[in-house]
C-alpha cells in the first residue's frame, strides 16, 4: 500500500474517532441534561401541587378542578392522585392524537429519555390523604434531542469534509517531494543517472543529495572514460596531421554508407589530390606544407559536417569527401575548390585536381575508388584546378511533386511493411527482431535508403515513423516477440508524433516491454533535450530505448547517463574487419565498458562473418546483427 494511502487511512481514522466520539459524548450529555431538567420539574411541580392540596378543602370537585387546571395549562404526561392504599382518586393522562413528531423509532429506543416521576405526600390534618405522582411530558425533549443530534451530525460532517480537504492538501504538500525522490531513485535503479533539485523536507533533501552525488560521480567517471575513448579514437582512426579519418577508418565509413539500409541516396564522393608533395616540401618547407594540409583537411571536415557526410585522407596526397548535396556535381566541385582556395595562402602554386562521382548502392569501395582514380587522371590533365565528374546516372528522374504523390499514395495504401533482421546474443538467443521500414514504391517494397531523403524533404518522416510504430505494436500483439524499430530525428522533434505515440503505448502497456525504439546517435548530440524527455516517457511505459550507429560521434555525446539507454548499437564502420584488424579493439572495449556501466546491452551492427562475431564476443559486445546472423 502506498504511503499516501496509509496516511490517508490514518487521517480518516483520527477524524472518525474524534468527530464520532464528540458526537456521541455531545448527544449523551444532552440527554443527561434533559433528563435532569425534567426530573427537577417533576419533583418541584409535584411538591408545590401537593403543598397546595394539603392546605385546602379536599372535596372531589375542587380536587378535580385543581388537577385539571394544573394538567391542562402545563406540560404533563400524567398526574395521578393516589390514596394511602394506592387506589387512584384522580388521574389525568395525556392522549397523543396522531404522531406529530418526526423522531424515528430506533432513535427513541437507542436514546430513550428516562425520568422518574415526581412524588409528593398530601396531608389532611394529621392524617395521610394520599400521594401525588407527576410525570412531565418528555416527548418534546426527545424531539429536541433528535433535532440537536441531526444538527450536530451535519456540522460534524461538514467539519470532517473541511478537515479531509485540508488533510489532503497537507498530505499532497508533504508527499510531493517524495514523488520526485522516488522517481529519481527508480531512474538510478535503471542506470539512468539524473540529478534533481533538492526538496525542502530535511530527510528527502539528504536522500536527494546522496543520489545527486552518485549521479555526479557516475557522470565524472563517464567523462573520464569518454576522454580516454576520444584519445583512442584519435590514435586509431585519425590522420595525425589533418585529423581527418585515416585510410582504413574512411573505408569502413564508406562501406557503412554503401551498405546501410537507411542511408539516403544522392551521396557524392570527391577525390582531391595534392600534386607533387615531395617537391612542395622542398620548396616551401615541411611546416608550411603541413599548414596547407591542415587547411585542406579543415575545409573538407567542415564541408562534411555541413552536409552530413565525412572526409578522409587516403594517403599523403589523396583527400576524399563524401557528402550529400542536391547540386549538380560540377557546381559542387567548383564550390569545393573555391572553399579550399580561400583557406590557402594567396599566390601559392598548389595543384589540386578533383574528381567526383555519385555513390551507387552496394557498389564495392575498391571499384568506386578505382573509378575515381581514373577520373582524377583525366582531371590532372585539365590543370591545377582541373575537375572531372562521372556522368550522372539516374535510374529514374523524378521531381518533388512526383515523389510526394507516389509516397502519399503508398502510405495511404498499402501503408508500411517492416523488414526483419535478427539480433542475437552469442548463444544464438534472440534479443529482438530489428525491423526497418519498407514502402511500396515503383511496385517494389523499397528500403529506407530509397526514399528517406525525399521523405525528409517532404516532411513525411514523422508520418512514416508513426505508421511503423502502429505496425510494430500490431505485430507484437500477434507474435509476442520483441521488435526494434527506428525513429528518425525528424519524428523525435515532432511534438505531434511524440504525443500520439505516448497515447498509443499507454493503451497497450503490456506490449511495451517488447517494443525497442532506437534513435540515431546524432539525436543524442543535436536533440538531447527532446531525446531525454521522450526516452524517460517511453521507459516509464516499459519500452526499451537505444541508440543506433553509435561510435562515430560517440565522444561528442554529453550526459549519456542522463538519457537513459537500454541498448547501444555500434556502427558497422567500427566493427568492420575487427577479426583481422586490431586497431579498433581498444575503442570497442572502452565503448562496451561505458555502455555496460550504464546498464546498456551492447549490440554490433553489420557483422559480416562468424570470425568477426567471435572477436566481438571477446571484446565484450553482447549481441550481433548483420549478414552473418540469421
Amino acid at each position: 500500500m502506498s504511503l499516501i494511502k496509509q496516511l490517508w487511512i490514518g487521517i480518516c481514522l483520527i477524524l472518525i474517532l474524534a468527530l464520532g466520539g464528540s458526537f456521541f459524548i455531545s448527544t449523551l450529555t444532552a440527554r443527561e441534561y434533559l433528563e435532569q431538567q425534567l426530573q427537577l420539574k417533576n419533583i418541584d411541580n409535584a411538591t408545590s401541587l401537593a403543598l397546595s392540596i394539603t392546605q385546602m378543602e379536599k372535596d372531589p370537585v375542587t380536587l378535580e378542578l385543581l388537577l385539571s387546571a394544573q394538567f391542562d395549562s402545563g406540560h404533563y404526561q400524567s398526574i395521578r392522585l393516589l390514596d394511602p392504599e394506592g387506589e387512584v382518586i384522580v388521574e389525568r393522562h395525556y392522549q397523543t392524537n396522531g404522531n406529530t413528531q418526526s423522531v424515528p423509532v430506533w432513535f427513541e429506543k437507542l436514546l430513550n429519555i428516562q425520568v422518574q416521576p415526581g412524588i409528593a405526600q398530601i396531608q389532611d390534618g394529621w392524617h395521610q390523604y394520599g400521594s401525588l405522582e407527576v410525570i412531565s411530558h418528555s416527548r418534546y425533549a426527545q424531539q429536541e434531542l433528535w433535532d440537536s443530534s441531526l444538527r450536530l451530525l451535519l456540522w460534524l460532517l461538514l467539519a470532517a469534509l473541511v478537515c479531509g480537504l485540508i488533510g489532503t492538501a497537507v498530505l499532497k504538500a508533504i508527499t510531493r517531494p517524495l514523488g520526485h525522490v522516488v522517481r529519481q531513485a527508480e531512474s538510478i535503479g535503471q542506470r539512468h543517472f539524473i540529478t534533481s533539485a533538492e526538496p525542502r523536507t530535511r530527510e528527502f533533501r539528504k536522500l536527494v543529495r546522496s543520489m545527486n552525488k552518485l549521479s555526479a560521480s557516475v557522470k565524472a567517471m563517464l567523462e573520464k572514460e569518454t576522454q580516454k575513448l576520444d584519445k583512442l579514437q584519435r590514435e586509431s582512426q585519425q590522420d595525425p596531421t589533418t585529423t581527418l579519418a585515416n585510410r582504413s577508418h574512411f573505408l569502413n565509413l564508406l562501406d557503412s554508407v554503401i551498405h546501410r539500409e537507411d542511408t539516403e541516396q544522392n551521396f557524392s564522393v570527391y577525390l582531391l589530390r595534392l600534386m607533387e608533395l615531395a617537391q612542395l616540401n622542398q620548396t616551401m618547407g615541411r611546416d608550411q606544407v603541413d599548414d596547407i594540409l591542415r587547411n585542406i583537411g579543415q575545409t573538407l571536415q567542415q564541408q562534411a559536417s555541413e552536409t552530413q557526410g565525412f572526409a578522409g585522407r587516403l594517403n599523403g596526397t589523396d583527400f576524399v569527401l563524401v557528402s550529400h548535396s542536391d547540386l549538380p556535381l560540377q557546381e559542387s566541385s567548383e564550390h569545393l575548390h573555391r572553399l579550399i582556395d580561400a583557406s590557402l595562402p594567396p599566390g601559392n602554386a598548389v595543384a589540386l585536381p578533383l574528381a567526383a562521382t555519385q555513390i551507387q548502392t552496394n557498389e564495392d569501395h575498391g571499384k568506386l575508388l578505382s573509378r575515381l582514380d581514373g577520373l582524377l587522371a583525366r582531371a590532372e590533365e585539365r590543370g591545377d584546378r582541373g575537375i572531372q565528374i562521372a556522368a550522372q546516372v539516374h535510374s529514374k528522374q523524378r521531381n518533388l511533386q512526383q515523389w510526394r504523390e507516389s509516397m502519399t499514395q503508398a502510405l495511404e495504401s498499402p501503408g508500411v511493411q517492416l523488414g526483419q533482421f535478427a539480433v542475437r546474443d552469442h548463444n544464438g538467443a534472440l534479443v529482438h527482431w530489428e525491423q526497418p521500414v519498407r514502402l511500396l514504391l515503383e511496385s517494389e517494397w523499397q528500403s529506407a535508403g530509397f526514399f528517406v531523403g525525399w521523405a525528409k524533404r517532404l516532411g513525411l518522416l514523422a508520418q512514416i515513423d508513426w505508421l511503423v510504430v502502429n505496425q510494430a505494436i500490431k505485430q507484437i500483439q500477434q507474435t509476442g516477440e520483441p521488435c526494434a524499430i527506428n525513429v528518425s530525428e525528424s519524428a523525435l522533434c515532432d511534438v505531434d508524433f511524440r504525443v500520439k505515440v505516448r497515447e498509443l503505448l499507454r493503451q497497450s502497456t503490456v506490449l511495451c516491454e517488447n517494443l525497442w525504439l532506437e534513435f540515431p546517435e546524432s539525436c543524442a548530440i543535436r536533440q538531447l533535450s527532446q531525446l531525454k524527455s521522450f526516452s524517460a516517457e517511453l521507459r516509464l511505459l516499459g519500452c526499451k530505448v537505444g541508440l543506433e550507429h553509435v561510435g562515430l560521434e560517440f565522444t561528442r555525446i554529453r550526459e549519456l547517463e542522463g538519457i537513459g539507454v537500454d541498448y547501444l548499437k555500434v556502427d558497422s564502420a567500427i566493427i568492420r574487419d575487427c577479426d583481422s584488424n586490431t586497431a579498433n579493439h581498444p575503442f570497442i572495449q572502452s565503448l562496451c565498458g561505458i555502455g555496460h556501466s550504464l546498464g546498456a546491452v551492447m549490440i554490433a551492427e553489420g557483422v559480416q562473418t562468424t570470425a568477426e562475431q567471435q572477436t566481438l564476443a571477446a571484446l565484450n559486445i553482447d549481441a550481433c546483427t548483420g549478414p552473418a546472423i540469421q
Binding site: Q36, Q39, I43, T54, P84, E85, Q121, Q123, W126, Q128
Partner: protein, 202 residues
C-alpha cells in the same frame, strides 16, 4: 414499582461510615457511632413500638439541641445522621432526619414514615418545628417522635402542634443501588442531604 422502597439494612456501608467518623470526629464520634450500630443490631427484630421508643430515646438523650447558627454557622443547615452523631448536636430537622433513617434501617417501610413540618406553640411563642410521624396504617393517626417532648404520643394528644406539610424519601432515595451523581440534587435541601448521606456510605 413507583414507590421505591426505602433503605434496607444491607445498604449500610459500615466500614466506610466508621472511617469517615474516625477521620472527622475522632474517638468520641466513633464510640457514639458504634453505640448506634449496636442499637440497630439489638433492635432489628424487636416490636415496632420498642424500635420507635429506643431510637427516639437514643437521639433525644444523646444529642444536644443546638441552633444551626452556632453549630454550622449557617442560618439553616440540614445535617446528615453522621454529622449529627459526630457533633452530638442538632436542631429539630437533624433529630427527625437521624430518627427517620434509623427507623428505615430497622426495616420500617418508608411509606409509614413522614417528616412533618409543624407549627409548635411553646409557652411564650409560636415556632416552626419538624417532627417525625409514624403511621401504623395508612389511614391511622400518626405517632409523633419529637425532640421537644421526649415521649412518643399520638398526634391527637399533641394539641401544641399543627401539621402544615409532610414528606418522605419515596421516589427520591435510591438507597445506594446506583451512584446518583445528579448535580441538580445539591440545589434542594432534602435531596442534598440524601446525596451527602449516600456519599458518606448510607
Amino acid at each position: 414499582m413507583l414507590m421505591l422502597s426505602g433503605l434496607s439494612p444491607l445498604a449500610l456501608q459500615q466500614s466506610k461510615l466508621e472511617a469517615q467518623m474516625q477521620s472527622r470526629y475522632g474517638e468520641d464520634g466513633q464510640a457514639y457511632l458504634n453505640a448506634w450500630f449496636r442499637l440497630l443490631d439489638e433492635q432489628l427484630d424487636s416490636e415496632i413500638n420498642e424500635q420507635l421508643e429506643q431510637v427516639n430515646r437514643f437521639f433525644n438523650l444523646g444529642i444536644t439541641f443546638s441552633d444551626d447558627r452556632l453549630l454550622w454557622k449557617q442560618k439553616d443547615y440540614w445535617a446528615t445522621p453522621l454529622q449529627t452523631m459526630g457533633t452530638r448536636g442538632g436542631d429539630c430537622e437533624d433529630f427527625s432526619i437521624a430518627k427517620y433513617f434509623s427507623l428505615l434501617e430497622l426495616g420500617i417501610p418508608a411509606d409509614k414514615l413522614r417528616l412533618i413540618y409543624v407549627r409548635a406553640k411553646t409557652p411564650g411563642r409560636v415556632q416552626a418545628h419538624m417532627v417525625l410521624g409514624y403511621f401504623p396504617s395508612p389511614n391511622a393517626e400518626p405517632l409523633l417522635l419529637d425532640n421537644l417532648n421526649p415521649n412518643i404520643l399520638p398526634a391527637s394528644e399533641r394539641p401544641d402542634l399543627t401539621p402544615v406539610f409532610s414528606f418522605n424519601s419515596q421516589g427520591l432515595w435510591l438507597g445506594g443501588t446506583k451512584s446518583e451523581s445528579d448535580p441538580t440534587s445539591r440545589l434542594s435541601r432534602w435531596r442534598d442531604v440524601l446525596q451527602r448521606m449516600h456519599d458518606e456510605g448510607f
